[in-house]
């Protein structure tokens, strides 16, 4: 019966997330001109990464071992991953809510801490950069041979890595508030992850690769899934190891967020 309780709790959390999205989108579209500008700005992420890669491959032979269309897909996967993080958890908004005590009322609701943190302060316009990146991926897949098995493995790795990355950002945001009473640290960490993850981690050397795998785990949602997608890594054990590491990272940061929050004191109200 414990499993049934966990399932019920998960369903309730999903419903809470769904309701929060409904209200977030309704609030976002109240001011239509502003929402259009924000959606346009969010698309600029996709435009910048595509423009950079296109220029690099127009003026040079690009990055060794990666074709133009493979790079477009990697950059778009990175944009989707980072945009998903921003969509679910905005460090600036969350720290602001913690500083002025607005989060206190949210925390009194009968849902888990992480469910509440992810449901109240995301950056909704990021949906446009996600959707534009999906279009780029769909376009690029015409020029890249991908097997069904690698595609399924890619999806599994991407989702596991994304959960780990989101939990990491939640943990870092709360840590940023606890230590510095500011969101700048967490915000800039996400920006760095976004800048680096659109390119193969191998270009940053062994140390850089480790940084973006273990310390800033965005590689789990971008580079490693892309390697599997393009059959650069085919060993099932390697895929399983990556999945396991993503799951472990997600659990560690999930628990870490709860542990950090025990020391939370309201900033106001």
């Amino acid at each position: 019966m414990r499993g049934y309780g966990i399932l019920e709790g998960f369903k309730r959390s999903l419903f809470m997330m769904y309701l929060s999205q409904v209200y977030a989108w309704k609030g976002f579209f109240v001011y239509r001109l502003q929402s259009a500008i924000w959606l346009l700005y969010a698309v600029s992420y996709t435009v910048f990464s595509i423009a950079t890669i296109t220029v690099i491959y127009n003026v040079s032979s690009g990055i060794a071992g990666w074709s133009y269309y493979q790079m477009l897909i990697l950059a778009s996967v990175s944009t989707i991953a980072v945009s998903s993080i921003w969509y679910l958890i905005s460090p600036w908004n969350l720290v602001d809510m913690m500083r002025n005590g607005k989060i206190d009322m949210t925390l009194s609701r009968p849902f888990g801490l992480v469910t509440l943190l992810l449901s109240v302060n995301g950056f909704t316009p990021q949906i446009s950069s996600m959707l534009s990146s999906v279009l780029i991926i769909a376009f690029s897949l015409q020029y890249v041979h991908v097997s069904l098995a690698s595609l399924l493995a890619f999806v599994a790795l991407f989702l596991a890595g994304l959960v780990a990355a989101v939990m990491f950002v939640a943990f870092t945001t709360v840590l940023s508030y606890m230590l510095l009473r500011s969101a700048r640290f967490a915000n800039n960490i996400v920006n760095i992850m976004g800048s680096a993850s659109g390119y193969p981690l191998s270009i940053f050397g062994l140390v850089g690769s480790m940084v973006f795998t273990v310390l800033l785990p965005i590689g789990l949602a971008t580079y490693y899934p892309a390697q599997v997608l393009f059959s650069k890594v085919t060993d099932p054990l390697a895929v399983l190891a990556c999945l396991s590491f993503s799951a472990l990272a997600a659990v560690v940061f999930y628990k870490g967020t709860y542990w950090l929050f025990k020391g939370y004191t309201s900033g106001g109200g």
């Binding site: 001011y31 001109l33 502003q34 500008i37 924000w38 346009l40 700005y41 600029s44 435009v47 910048f48 423009a51 950079t52 220029v55 690099i56 127009n58 003026v59 040079s60 032979s61 690009g62 990055i63 060794a64 316009p125 510095l180 009473r181 500011s182 700048r184 640290f185 800039n188 960490i189 920006n191 760095i192 800048s195 680096a196 390119y199 193969p200 270009i203 940053f204 050397g205 850089g208």
Partner: protein
């Protein structure tokens, strides 16, 4: 004895400086992350040059491209439209009514409030990034190139804050302008050569890029400093930027004069 105008604005500047110094760690984090972002661009282009069959790409040697992105980061560190940011907060928080009741010019007050932050950032962020670029990659300097770079840096500050002021005036009509501010900064980055050097863009974009002011404050001064553009060409490009700056300044003053009398706020 009543304080002179300068003493009043100086007090504002000191207040702005103290505000910035409250969160010292924030500044250090900003410095580290700017450095990290620049190093990421260096790593990307190092990989491009490593797989290239030529030592130069469109006239850029590898050290010049690395220095390019460090210098771009140095200028864009002070390129955020702070005046627009502050103005939006003042209008939406209702504090603008109290500022307008004081014997101070609000635009001048904004300038003095923003200046310490810009000076601090230029001294502790832009200067180190520029020195790293120049000395680590042995960029030969001339008096003219340094002067053009410095003028470009000042124009970047003036242009982005003038645009920020215009955007700030829109806060009287719109509730959330951070999207507009971010979009303005994104345009600076893209059309100013902050993403890739402008001569790497396709030829059809050249007339658009030349007509806009952004290349004058970013791509041009950086290119002159690293030696990929002549001073004469730079002066011609920067004249376009100056013309834009003058036009935006005149327009912003006219807009402020028209808007000032219609300000009503819900906060304060």
């Amino acid at each position: 004895m009543p304080a002179s105008s300068f003493e009043k604005y100086y007090a504002m500047a000191l207040f702005g400086l103290k505000n910035e110094l409250y969160y010292k760690m924030d500044f250090l984090i900003f410095l580290v992350t700017r450095l990290a972002s620049s190093l990421i661009m260096v790593a990307i282009w190092a990989a491009v040059y490593a797989s290239s069959h030529s030592a130069t790409i469109l006239g850029y040697r590898a050290p010049e491209i690395y220095a390019y992105f460090f210098l771009v980061s140095a200028i864009t560190s002070v390129g955020w439209p702070e005046t627009g940011d502050n103005m939006v907060q003042d209008i939406q928080g209702g504090m603008i009514t109290s500022y307008l009741a004081r014997p101070l010019s609000y635009p001048v007050h904004l300038l003095f409030e923003t200046a310490p932050d810009l000076f601090f950032t230029a001294l502790f962020l832009s200067l180190p990034l520029s020195l790293i670029a120049v000395y680590y990659w042995s960029i030969p300097l001339t008096v003219q190139s340094v002067l053009v770079f410095f003028v470009g840096l000042c124009m970047a500050v003036a242009l982005t804050n003038a645009i920020g002021f215009v955007i700030g005036i829109l806060a009287l009509k719109m509730t959330n302008l951070y999207g507009v501010l971010n979009l303005a900064f994104a345009m600076l980055m893209f059309f100013g050569g902050g993403i890739v050097p402008l001569n790497m863009l396709p030829s059809w974009s050249a007339p658009i890029v030349s007509a806009l002011p952004f290349q004058a404050v970013l791509y041009t001064p950086v290119s002159v400093l690293i030696g990929t553009m002549s001073v004469q060409a730079a002066v011609s490009n920067m004249a376009v930027g100056l013309a834009w700056l003058a036009a935006i300044f005149v327009a912003s003053m006219a807009m402020w004069k028209a808007a000032r009398g219609n300000i009503s706020t819900a906060g304060g």
